[in-house]
Symmetry: C2
Subunit: 444 residues, 2 copies
């Protein structure tokens, strides 16, 4: 069981500090022989030489080359490349043949310089959530964004806030935005007091935020109705007969977390239930945070709750393990409902009931909205809400494990297109759902 002595080298320390990856250790058979390994990761002073293309096709190709080979002018080649109809079919074919033959691809930088478009959009993951970046929500979102961009012939520049260094953030994004590196920006999640948001608005830079920001009506946004969704979810627990219902929420700086918090209170208030403050916990969207919060709830002064609304599936997974340890049965002793609808958590026993949000849909919508915003920067901003579904399964008490092919249960959450530029949420405006936005809702 003592591996240390049986192998030639033993690492005593691994330091993964900024600028250098460093290891220290000793020789297993001779402890006095020490060694140190380091891999610098700092900044290079300057770039030296350029990458030389190979000698064959594809090297040093330009419109000029293709034009010569095809016996036409640069303009004609350019038109062919850009699918300009004003080119005779015969010529087009000839040029295409040469292009394909030479494996020519237009230079992105030259294109951007001339067209003032990069066909790159930025995807920003705010720094304050980067510690929870491994929550499956973000990978799913990212995959959705990249898929949508693939379909739209766009590229994605991924930017993650280094939350530990505000100066870097500033420098980085000004470079990217002001340097015209990207045509538009998707902000992956909405946080209060996000300094970048205000700047994007001031810069009038094409931006779509995922998650509504009533404070920033001039930035397009796409979201689900977190508050209403949370209300429905808690209402469902109330319908199950629960009166003592806990909340494991996310950090309030995440606007969605605040909305879910509000929805929780809406539901209780509507049912005439007085919320027990000891049952309302702000956690951090991590699995361990969910575990810890559930431990707190089990030891609540007024006794544990009979049901808990957990504001993310990842936290719900943590809550599950705590309950398993404590020997509490789900849903008999404590019922549970999560939020997100992540496939990853369908494996719990009993299966996790959860309010499912269309993450891929949010991603697609964000990309589509951004494209329009880039094409028509002066058009008013747009705010969209996508539908959600309360997925009733085992942990809320509805039924046993759902069969693999089970269908989402509609909850009645509404697709609403806010009045353009109106920063107030749909609920705040107090009326019927707005469903006459041509792009979103059309009567059958």
């Amino acid at each position: 069981m003592q591996n240390d002595g049986s192998h030639p080298f033993v690492i005593d320390r691994l330091t993964d500090s900024p600028g250098v990856l460093r290891c220290e250790g000793h020789r297993g058979s001779a402890p006095n022989v020490r060694f140190r390994a380091s891999l610098p990761t700092g900044r290079v002073p300057a770039l030296s030489q350029s990458f030389p293309g190979e000698g064959g096709p594809g090297a040093d190709m330009s419109l000029e080359t293709i034009a010569r080979l095809a016996g036409v002018s640069r303009s004609t080649v350019s038109r062919v490349v850009n699918d300009d109809p004003r080119v005779r079919p015969a010529v087009r074919e000839r040029v295409r043949a040469v292009i394909s033959d030479q494996d020519y691809h237009p230079n992105a930088a030259a294109r951007s310089l001339a067209s003032r478009k990069t066909r790159i959009i930025g995807l920003l993951i705010p720094g304050a959530v980067s510690f929870v970046f491994s929550d499956p929500y973000f990978p799913t979102l990212i995959q959705g964004i990249t898929d949508a961009c693939n379909a739209a012939d766009l590229h994605v520049m991924l930017m993650m806030d280094p939350s530990d260094d505000p100066a870097t953030i500033d420098r980085l994004y000004r470079r990217v935005i002001r340097g015209r590196h990207i045509d538009g920006l998707v902000i992956g999640t909405s946080m209060i007091d996000d300094p970048l948001v205000a700047r994007m608005r001031d810069d009038r830079f094409p931006t779509v935020v995922i998650g509504r920001r009533p404070d920033e009506p001039m930035l397009s946004s796409v979201d689900i109705d977190n508050r209403e969704a949370a209300r429905l979810t808690v209402e469902h627990l109330i319908d199950h007969g629960h009166r003592r219902i806990g909340l494991i929420g996310g950090p309030r700086v995440v606007i969605a977390a605040q909305n879910r918090f509000d929805g929780y209170h809406d539901a209780l208030a509507a049912a005439g239930i007085v919320a027990d403050p000891d049952l309302v916990l702000d956690s951090d969207f991590t699995q361990s945070g969910g575990s810890a919060a559930m431990r707190h709830l089990l030891g609540a002064p007024g006794g544990p709750p009979s049901a808990v609304f957990v504001a993310s599936d990842t936290m719900a997974a943590g809550a599950f393990t705590t309950l398993a340890e404590a020997g509490a049965r789900v849903p008999d002793d404590i019922a549970l409902v999560g939020f997100d609808g992540l496939e990853r958590h369908l494996q719990t026993h009993p299966t996790l009931s959860t309010l499912a949000q269309p993450i891929t849909g949010l991603a697609r919508a964000a990309v589509e909205m951004l494209r329009r915003r880039i094409d028509a920067p002066e058009a008013p901003p747009v705010h969209h809400l996508l539908p959600t579904f309360l997925w009733r399964r085992g942990s809320c008490g509805c039924s046993g494990p759902a069969p693999p092919g089970s269908v989402w249960h509609p909850t009645g959450t509404v697709i609403a297109a806010d009045v353009q530029g109106d920063p107030r949420s749909h609920a705040e405006k107090g009326g019927e759902p707005v469903h006459d936005h041509p792009a979103l809702v059309a009567p059958v």
Copy 2:
């Protein structure tokens, strides 16, 4: 419990098909009033107008403008921007003042066009693993890459293979690579028969692959010694007294999975144990895959194993749930060791013993190696191995839950720098660890 009728609109169907996000439903209070919502996500015919800058500072700024305002030539401004030492401090300060005053930022496209460098690197997640993209391994890797790029003043273009459409892959990456969109490429994981890898080699495009590819010695690579690490892990189980040891492996198309498979067999062979084929399962690196595999193992013809090496922590988490259902105690009935060392899985009970790999270190190393490769394209490729640690905790039988601050146990896995260009793994060359690479290992 019937929410459907109590809300104004009910979504009957949500179709998230390519090209359009579509919803259908009816009015809750009037089932005959139906509506349909759709959000097109297709391709735009062409871009129309450019993004207009605002009127104040930052609009239409160029070297020329700054030069005029500072009373110098474009060249001087360019030198200041690029930290060229050949400029008088006084002038430099004056120019800097104007730049800062005008909030000027150089245009990325123009820069790239003139310098033939984009300062963007591509990060490719192969399509065959995209279904397992939400495994925390990838988010962690991505975060490491972006952090390293931030530090090096580089940007990241994220590319995810749409595995369902080979034609798109081809078109996309040729555009990106041949269009000179990026200076270099990091391939996030090594798969056998990855067509892109061969092309990168043929194009002599600066590329670093994470995960060794003995078949592609001309591409730089960074990896851990998966085979040796797996061998050590299984050896550890053997040291615990286990003889009937199962393997839940990853898909063999992932080279690392094959390596871990080999290491498993190495350990058994070294101990004179004949492997029971019924205990060796290829799974898919997902949690549900781990669950299913463990169910298979419990029903193995020769009886369940007394210990299982699970080739990823995520699968181990799945295995855990299966064991919990079956009422099997860990590690008393069945011992478990995972692979990856992901923080997310530290919450199991008992705590998961796991072979931890330095994911962030792999990311940093990849970026650093790629930078060098970009700077010196003609230098020979480099192959690095990073150290790993067997984190002995509860599930292997070593001890109870580790305290929060517990330190990684070194395993003696070696930092090795392969001889340049030598495709054979360190183990294959059969010798002592190579520890004299100047950049990696220096005696203390």
